[in-house]
């Protein structure tokens, strides 16, 4: 059975190896260049203490590559689900060859078990290799950006891509088994994977671990630490940006400022505090920070307003990686069980 699985998977595996080799080569060449520049920049800027300015250049140089590579690493599990998972059983059913395979002296449970295990291992290995390369490649950029919780960054580093690959592969296999056709199974796999990738960073990841909430009273002291006030919805809401939360934390929510009763405060209610372009300037009108902004803060302090920020501290990065990977591996396990249940259901 292992021989048959290997023989059937050979062409797909070779294609994957070719793609991975090309990707690895690109990662290595550009990565070594970038790492070299980063080290040289660090050495040159440290004595002058102007590293912020010097290092900002690097992410700009690699901006396009950074985003495209992140997309590639995120797309890899989807591709695995579509091209390895969906056809795994559906293709056999379409061509009728499952009738040949299931009538050898091997139960279909074992047939599925070997196929699932072998190709899932290959899927996880491929995603793991890409994730390792990506994490290594982007290390200087991640250090400069300081935002490891960015939705695309978090999803394409360290161990979560392995969980995604296991999940997408099991998803594709189950879709193929139930739909019995390759193309619809591919479409369903892609749709569900995209849905999950939107749902998880917005609704699930922030709640995997309990977050920290800090409340800042709106006054001169707070305002002088911030770097701007933003008006939303034509002045119906006011946001304060750049309030001091711990380095590297992930801001999960930063709602508009509220009064002591918990109601959202409109800028128009305190127009006297806002010099310059008022709410009439339209949504998103910005008043820059600095001394002016400290004055706004001092003015608003009379009204007992506050800004509440919820965040995941930087120390939650690895626990979140593990939890999310575990969650996807568990989902992959459930989907695999569903595959076995489905394939045996047709038996007496």
């Amino acid at each position: 059975m292992i021989w048959l699985t290997a023989r059937q998977f050979r062409a797909q595996a070779l294609a994957a190896v070719a793609v991975l080799a090309a990707a690895a080569l690109y990662f290595l060449i550009t990565g070594l260049q970038m790492h070299h520049t980063y080290t040289a920049d660090l050495i040159s800027c440290t004595p002058q203490n102007d590293c912020d300015g010097v290092l900002r250049q690097l992410p700009e140089t690699y901006n396009a590559a950074f985003h495209l590579l992140q997309l590639l690493v995120l797309a890899a599990p989807a591709l695995v689900g579509i091209f390895w998972g969906a056809p795994l059983v559906a293709r056999e059913i379409e061509t009728g060859t499952n009738q040949l395979a299931w009538n050898q002296s091997v139960t279909r449970t074992r047939w599925l078990a070997v196929k699932l295990t072998a190709v899932a291992a290959a899927s996880i290995a491929a995603a793991g290799l890409l994730s390792y390369l990506m994490t290594w490649w982007a290390r200087p950029l991640d250090a400069i950006n300081g935002n490891r919780f960015d939705a695309l960054t978090f999803a394409t580093r360290d161990i979560v891509p392995l969980g995604y690959a296991a999940f997408a592969f099991a998803l594709g296999t189950l879709a193929g088994l139930i739909l019995r056709r390759t193309i619809p199974a591919m479409a369903v796999t892609l749709a569900v994977f995209i849905g999950i990738q939107i749902l998880v960073p917005t609704a699930i990841r922030p709640n995997l671990l309990s977050s920290t909430t800090v409340t800042f009273p709106v006054n001169q002291a707070t305002a002088s630490q911030a770097n701007g006030v933003y008006m939303g919805r034509g002045g119906a809401e006011v946001y304060i940006a750049g309030l001091p939360i711990p380095q590297g934390a992930w801001t999960v929510s930063a709602p508009p400022i509220k009064d002591s009763a918990g109601h959202i405060v409109a800028a128009s209610a305190h127009l006297n505090c806002f010099p310059g372009p008022g709410p009439g300037a339209g949504p998103g009108a910005v008043k820059a920070g600095g001394p002016d902004f400290a004055q706004i803060g001092a003015c608003l302090a009379n009204y007992d307003l506050h800004e509440t920020i919820t965040y995941q501290p930087a120390s939650h990065y690895w626990p979140l990686q593990w939890y999310e990977t575990g969650m996807f591996v568990a989902l992959a396990g459930l989907l695999s069980c569903a595959c076995f249940w489905w394939i045996r259901r047709r038996q007496n």
């Binding site: 023989r7 061509t95 009728g96 060859t97 040949l100 002296s105 091997v106 279909r108 007496n348």
Partner: protein
């Protein structure tokens, strides 16, 4: 020795149609069984249930005394060649033989190799590039070389030209005779089965119409031709299967003893084809047990 296939009240229904209805059968061992019926009669459904590809909706079935596809041991005892004889298009003939060897503990490599040589199938050829007849032969080789006690083939010759059809059936019979294998073979053509089967099942409109040893069935059925009369005027211990009436003459297809019923009629045995067609005709027209032909003159 347990029955080849034993079914009780076996049925399979899909959302809008019955594929197999109340099928009760007991096929004794050591036969080459022909399963005949028109397209869509339920032959494939019955065979798929028998090899465990499909689960029945109702009833019970045992093949060689065990549940179909109950485990590796049961799978090894039953060979199955599905309709259109599927093979892996991008695997070579040699790959298929290796597949058979790896997946079947009882694999007879010499037999498989001998058959492939005899058929002159090129070992390196991808199965997708073989002709329909060659592919059917390859699928049959895989099923035969696992050395099953029972071999089931679903319309194996349906897509073959007459020459390939004959060659396939000859090879099938040779392997079966050499290895003492029982066979269940389905077809919508009686002529395919006539030469090879010694047991017959007629399946029409999802129901089994007739089942039995071919020789017994042929010995028990007669065509009686006599002057026009109704069924009740027929005397004797016979069961009318079907009747045809013309202006002056009535023809009755009857099942009785092995001795021909005596009376004022001409009694003759039916050919296998006529026998099958009679039951098919009856099944296609439930409620009626006869048909009346009007002649040119009467019109």
């Amino acid at each position: 020795m347990s029955a080849l296939l034993q079914a009780q009240g076996l049925g399979k229904s899909y959302r809008h149609r019955e594929a197999l209805t109340d099928c009760t059968l007991k096929i004794p061992p050591g036969h080459v069984v022909g399963l005949v019926g028109p397209n869509g009669a339920g032959k494939t459904t019955l065979l798929k249930i028998a090899c465990g590809m499909l689960a029945p909706t109702t009833g019970r079935i045992e093949v060689l005394g065990e549940q179909p596809a109950a485990g590796p041991a049961q799978l090894a005892r039953v060979g199955y060649v599905a309709q259109d004889t599927p093979t892996y298009a991008n695997l070579s003939v040699a790959d298929h033989l290796k597949l058979g060897a790896k997946l079947n503990p009882g694999w007879d490599a010499d037999l498989a190799r001998a058959r492939i040589d005899q058929l002159e199938l090129p070992l390196k050829q991808k199965a997708g590039k073989l002709s329909g007849g060659q592919r059917a032969q390859l699928a049959l080789t895989l099923a035969v070389a696992k050395r099953p006690e029972l071999l089931m083939l679903d319309e194996p010759v349906a897509s073959l030209d007459p020459l390939a059809r004959r060659a396939f059936l000859r090879h099938l019979m040779e392997s079966v005779a050499d290895n003492d294998t029982s066979v269940i073979l389905s077809s919508h053509l009686v002529s395919d089965l006539e030469r090879v089967c010694d047991y017959l099942i007629v399946l029409v409109a999802s129901r089994v119409q007739l089942a039995g040893d071919t020789e017994d069935l042929l010995a028990q059925h007669y065509r009686l031709v006599c002057t026009r009369r109704t069924e009740s005027d027929l005397l004797g211990n016979v069961q009318v299967v079907w009747a045809e009436h013309s202006d002056r003459q009535s023809t009755f297809f009857v099942r009785g003893d092995t001795e021909p019923p005596t009376g004022d009629w001409v009694a003759e045995h039916l050919s296998l084809e006529d026998l099958v067609l009679t039951y098919m005709e009856r099944a296609a027209d439930p409620g009626h047990r006869s048909t009346t032909h009007t002649t040119e003159a009467a019109r």
